[in-house]
């Protein structure tokens, strides 16, 4: 039967390559042709089965063993070509014959991913043209079937997911000759069900290529706009209209970096002079109003980490020295609140650190990767524990010891979330948040540098 499939495959290729036009209609016609060819071949095999199978059965009986025997047979007279047919004949009668299967079937995924699914962002740091985003079921111990699909992302793409449309977004960079040639930066819209691109918006070739963050690509205004951080090294933000799938314009943000969504139609950006700038985008994207806070944080000695979490309209930045800086982003200007310490008695030396060092769950708890013996230069060190905070009451409510220290983390949605980490071996560990219990490790999934982990929204 394998050879039958082989024959059908060869005929399919002949049919396809015979086509001079590669339009969808032609491919569709070709598929129909392949299907018809398959049916014809199938009928011929069936017709020859009786005599061929008798030969095979005799052969099996002579050897006295249960086995599969091959029998070569038959010209395909109708086609005028010679071909080989094969029939599996051992133990005839007790095993059902395999039916010919349909060729060309491609799997699809549900529009709403289950709560335990995660999205793994592999920057492919050792071969950046081949970055990828993987969809994986973190609740599964079936190492084969938990892998659901993937798409590609080039030169450290950045990523976001919609909660209102069945869409995933990436922004990445392509060069016409792979590692050289004309540069194209593109915002690509993927269908969650097919993981296939369904639209794209070509952007000014300015997007920042940096270690991935949550805030390189963000959605605002009830997900009507997408924001892309640019760095050339002049800093700016490109604005994409998600309804019309068009590029609206670019807002300069000199001296600042990344885009933190405001509650309304705007974003804030953290600046190198210890301020935050807020950019309000009017109905017309040219109508930009920017406001800036006074300097409020010590950018030299206790800088805000970029790795903030957003809970409602509040944004919480960890700092290098273990404080949390709340910023109210509900209005038309960011309003910094009073910073408070993450550390209590006996916590001396512990500091936040990692690549994606924070997470948030649906109950509004903040998770932070923490490492002991912190000092200048340890702010990207792997965390051996995850500390969980009730940010409203400024209290640590849990402390999860990790099986292996981790550089990145993510939290799945729902009331009973999973925590996933990228451990120091660059494979994924899965924990149950409520109990802190380690559940499983997800390895060998083709993600060599899974820098970012996202719970499916």
């Amino acid at each position: 039967m394998q050879k039958l499939i082989y024959i059908v495959g060869v005929l399919a290729l002949i049919t396809l390559f015979g086509c001079s036009d590669d339009s969808r209609e032609t491919i569709s016609d070709a598929s129909d042709t392949v299907q018809r060819v398959a049916e014809v071949v199938s009928e011929e095999v069936s017709a020859n089965n009786s005599s061929v199978a008798e030969e095979a059965t005799e052969s099996v009986e002579n050897s006295g063993a249960e086995a599969v025997e091959e029998v070569a047979a038959a010209d395909m007279e109708n086609s005028g070509t010679e071909a080989v047919k094969e029939v599996a004949a051992a133990d005839k009668g007790s095993k059902a014959e395999l039916k010919p299967e349909q060729i060309g079937v491609v799997e699809t995924l549900p529009e709403q991913y289950p709560a335990e699914w995660i999205l793994i962002q592999d920057a492919a740091f050792f071969h950046m043209l081949d970055g990828r985003l993987l969809v994986v079921d973190a609740s599964s111990d079936d190492s084969a079937r938990r892998y659901k699909g993937m798409f590609n992302s080039s030169i450290i793409g950045q990523f976001a997911q919609s909660t209102t449309r069945p869409e995933l977004y990436s922004v990445d960079t392509y060069l016409s000759r792979g590692t050289r040639g004309e540069r194209t930066d593109v915002f690509t819209i993927y269908d969650k069900r097919t993981l296939a691109p369904v639209g794209e918006v070509v952007l000014p070739a300015k997007r920042s290529s940096n270690m991935p963050t949550i805030y390189n690509l963000q959605l605002v205004d009830d997900e009507k706009l997408a924001l892309v951080y640019n760095f050339t090294p002049a800093a700016s933000v490109s604005i994409v209209d998600l309804d019309s799938r068009t590029f609206l314009g670019e807002v300069p943000i000199p001296g600042c970096a990344l885009a933190y969504p405001m509650a309304g139609r705007g974003f804030s950006t953290v600046c190198g002079d210890g301020t935050i700038q807020t950019v309000n985008i009017g109905a017309n994207s040219d109508d930009i109003v920017s406001n800036r806070t006074d300097a409020f944080f010590d950018y030299e000695n206790d800088p805000l980490m970029e790795k903030a979490v957003q809970i409602g309209s509040m944004t919480y930045f960890p700092t290098f020295k273990g404080n949390i800086q709340p910023v109210d982003m509900s209005g038309d200007i960011a309003v910094p609140g009073e910073a408070w310490s993450m550390l209590g008695d006996g916590d001396e030396g512990w500091l936040p650190g990692g690549l994606q060092s924070t997470g948030v769950d649906d109950a509004g708890r903040m998770y932070v990767l923490m490492h002991p013996e912190g000092a200048e230069g340890t702010h990207k060190n792997p965390g051996s524990e995850v500390w969980v905070y009730d940010v409203e009451n400024q209290q640590r409510v849990d402390r999860i010891k990790l099986k292996l220290p981790a550089i990145s983390m993510g939290i799945t949605r729902g009331e009973d979330p999973l925590m996933v980490t990228t451990n120091i071996n660059l494979v994924i560990d899965v924990y149950k948040v409520k109990s802190g219990e380690y559940l499983r490790t997800i390895a060998d999934i083709g993600a060599e540098t899974p820098f970012m982990l996202h719970g499916a929204r």
């Binding site: 740091f125 050792f126 071969h127 950046m128 043209l129 030169i155 450290i156 960079t173 060069l175 792979g178 590692t179 050289r180 040639g181 540069r183 920042s208 290529s209 940096n210 270690m211 963050t213 760095f231 050339t232 090294p233 002049a234 800093a235 000199p254 001296g255 600042c256 970096a257 990344l258 950006t269 953290v270 600046c271 190198g272 002079d273 950018y299 030299e300 800088p303 805000l304 980490m305 970029e306 200048e376 230069g377 340890t378 702010h379 990207k380």
Partner: protein, 172 residues
């Protein structure tokens, strides 16, 4: 020195936005003082101005614990066909970059190290090294090793990073 930081920073930002990309380097000025009259100011004491012999260095320049790599993040060019201050064949050195301030254990001086990326080929893949002393978030890009600094080059493809001494950091 806060006033000097502010002036230098404001000036450097204008230069960076309006003129050359190299001007961006002029923004670094927290522990050093400008000594050249050129615009943009590169606020480091240049080695050639100090005269005399170059100080010695110790250690393996292709090992991640080598003193110059105190704020590097990437593949060491010395393991990729280049050296600590040269790019591998066929690549192009980025003219703009991030810097670190690293102490040379031999002479006890702090040096400004420019981690110019080599660009135009995909990741070298050898001798990956990350150290973060003095590294700062991307809103202070001149001190941030999270950025791909293959900017101002023909290609944004990142291959490896050098660690070039561009001067001594003077005490505040």
């Amino acid at each position: 020195m806060k006033w000097l930081d502010k002036i230098t920073e404001t000036r450097a930002r204008k230069v960076a936005q309006s003129t050359s990309r190299r001007g961006f380097l002029g923004k670094l000025a927290t522990v050093v003082v400008g000594t050249t009259a050129a615009v943009p100011l590169l606020p480091v004491a240049r080695a050639e101005q100090s005269g005399g012999q170059q100080p010695a260095e110790e250690g393996d320049p292709n090992s991640c614990d080598y003193w110059r790599f105190c704020a590097i993040d990437g593949f060491l060019c010395g393991c990729c066909g280049g050296s600590i201050n040269t790019c591998p064949p066929g690549t192009e050195m980025s003219p703009i970059t991030w810097i670190g301030t690293c102490e040379n254990p031999v002479d006890g001086r702090n040096y400004i190290i420019s981690y110019n990326d080599c660009c135009g080929k995909t990741s070298c893949g050898n001798c990956l090294c990350q150290r973060n002393e003095g590294d700062r978030p991307m809103y202070r890009p001149q001190l941030s090793n999270d950025l791909n600094w293959c900017l101002g080059t023909q290609s944004v493809a990142y291959n490896c990073s050098t660690a070039v001494v561009i001067g001594t950091a003077l005490d505040e």
